[in-house]
């Protein structure tokens, strides 16, 4: 069995949700055993993003003002949006939009590793789905940073790797309001 075939996500953890007016935000935190500089590269460099992120970028997200096309991967109809990076303070803070979702990444160094936090707004009925998807993406990111990439797991592919279980666990953690 390959490392990819052996992969199974752990229990749902590290996520919370927040409501500001009508807008819901999913907040995800993950501790990585790698320094912020290395994590920053994985968040901004198209070649690294391709290994773990749910979108393709046609340019670097690492500098303010960069305009980058983001192609959501494995959607049933093509989905391409353009974004302009609004904050890029390497290796600590990164902000841009993915479609109509605000993406705010914070990297905080601790004991040689990085505490990575993502704030992203998302419809209430999709929050548990989003949390489950990012959970798997962050696992894959961790493998990539360890030098043992297992390949991106997004879209329908995630169903083969415990996405439904994670979604149910996150839905339970976030409480009522889930439509599915």
């Amino acid at each position: 069995m390959t490392d990819r075939e052996r992969y199974a996500p752990g229990p749902a953890s590290g996520a919370r949700i927040r409501k500001d007016g009508e807008k819901w935000t999913l907040v995800l935190r993950r501790e990585l055993r790698h320094p912020p500089e290395k994590v920053w590269q994985a968040l901004t460099d198209p070649a690294h993003l391709r290994e773990w992120a749910p979108f393709e970028a046609d340019g670097s997200l690492g500098a303010v003002g960069n305009t980058v096309k983001l192609t959501t991967v494995a959607t049933p109809a093509p989905h391409v949006t353009e974004t302009t990076v609004t904050r890029a303070e390497a290796p600590e803070l990164l902000e841009y939009k993915w479609g109509d979702h605000d993406m705010r990444w914070e990297l905080e160094g601790f004991g040689g590793g990085t505490r990575l936090t993502l704030w992203t707004n998302i419809g209430r009925q999709f929050i548990a789905m989003g949390a489950a998807g990012w959970h798997i993406c962050f696992d894959v990111l961790d493998r990539l940073l360890c030098g043992a990439p297992i390949g991106r797991i997004v879209g329908g592919e995630a169903m083969k790797f415990g996405w439904q279980r994670l979604r149910a666990e996150y839905a339970k953690q976030f409480g009522s309001g889930q439509s599915q």
């Binding site: 989905h79 949006t81 993915w98 479609g99 789905m129």
Partner: protein
Amino acid sequence: MKIKVTSIHVEDQEKALRFYTEVLGFVKKGDFSQGPFRWLTVAPAEEPDGIELQLALNDNPAAKAYQQAIFQQGQPAVMFNTDDVKGDYERTKALGAEFTMPPTSVTGATIAMLKDTCGNLIQLTQLAGW
């Protein structure tokens, strides 16, 4: 091969979902998201397991230009068949639907045209019996 789903571009998916379900009386079929992408389909209540209509967010400038142009020409983006165009006209009008053409006899059919509130004209067609 089968036609299982066909698509229409809409300016706002939530607004479109309200119009197609609450005014036209369709039912929601598929609804899932992947990041900012949302796959959303509805089907007519009369034929819930028939062909689905995807309400696709129109964030494509080329599609937007096309949508606006045919809207301004008064051309429908999609046509639905009905057995009672006058009844549908009265029912949806009472629910706030805005018609650009009331039920009108044309060759072989009676048609009506209404706005879907999301950038499209919809034609309702009742074929004349022959």
